[in-house]
């Protein structure tokens, strides 16, 4: 339940914040125009931060899994299924 509430809060923030930002952005007054260069490159940099963060976490997890659960690891032990020798 806590996980669902926490997840809901995170998702809620992620949906609400961009909506609020949008409400206060894109001024259409004469002489006040959006700098599309800043907006587009800013988006690019934010998405790159996420992409590299996710890439690091996923590749790090794969490396850890491969090292931790290799047969030659001193801590390795067969699963109950493997230990039964029926396969």
């Amino acid at each position: 339940m806590k996980v669902i509430i926490g997840l809901g809060m995170v998702l809620g923030l992620l949906v609400i914040l961009p909506a609020v930002e949008h409400a206060f952005a894109a001024g259409s007054e004469v002489g006040e125009y959006l700098d599309r260069k800043v907006a587009i490159w800013g988006l690019f940099y934010r998405l790159m931060i996420i992409a590299f963060t996710v890439g690091t976490v996923v590749s790090g997890m794969i490396v850890w899994l491969v090292l931790r659960f290799r047969e030659s690891n001193p801590k390795a032990k067969p699963t109950p299924y493997e230990a039964s020798g029926d396969w």
Partner: protein, 143 residues
């Protein structure tokens, strides 16, 4: 089933979903902001053809290979092509949109730096594509 704790897996799934939602929402938001054309934007018709760019201002003034704008004003472009698909690109102002025969595409921007900037075709359009260039001249307002 296995009896081990699954909370790290749920956190992992939650973080991934949250990041995907953020990426989608943020990209959608920026796209909406960028596509919001100011009401006082001046219209410029852009026509691509092998291998040059033609510009027509609201007052009927036409330019070939050169585009003269004023700093601080907003301009919206109606982009089309006479022959094959081109792509209208002003790199310095992050403007990039296809020029498609029989179709009018829209983009707008407001130059905020005076100077000379390259205009180029970014879609391979034939033998002289590499030289389908133009120059954007941005003058200080009132100059």
């Amino acid at each position: 089933m296995s009896g081990h704790s699954t909370w790290p897996e749920w956190v992992y799934v939650g973080v991934v979903i949250a990041l995907l939602c953020y990426v989608g929402a943020e990209a959608w938001n920026i796209e909406r902001i960028i596509e919001h054309v100011p009401e006082d934007a001046e219209l410029i018709k852009v026509t691509g053809q092998q291998w040059l760019w033609t510009f027509e201002h609201e007052d009927g003034t036409k330019e070939i290979g050169e585009l003269h704008l004023e700093k601080g004003k907003a301009y919206r472009f109606e982009i089309t092509s006479k022959d094959v698909i081109h792509s209208f690109n002003i790199h310095e102002y992050t403007v990039l949109l296809d020029a498609v025969p029989g179709k009018i595409n829209h983009v707008w921007f407001s130059p905020n730096v005076a100077g000379e900037f390259d205009i180029q075709c970014r879609e391979y359009c034939g033998l002289i594509h590499y030289n389908m260039r133009g120059t954007l001249f941005v003058a200080d307002t009132g100059a």
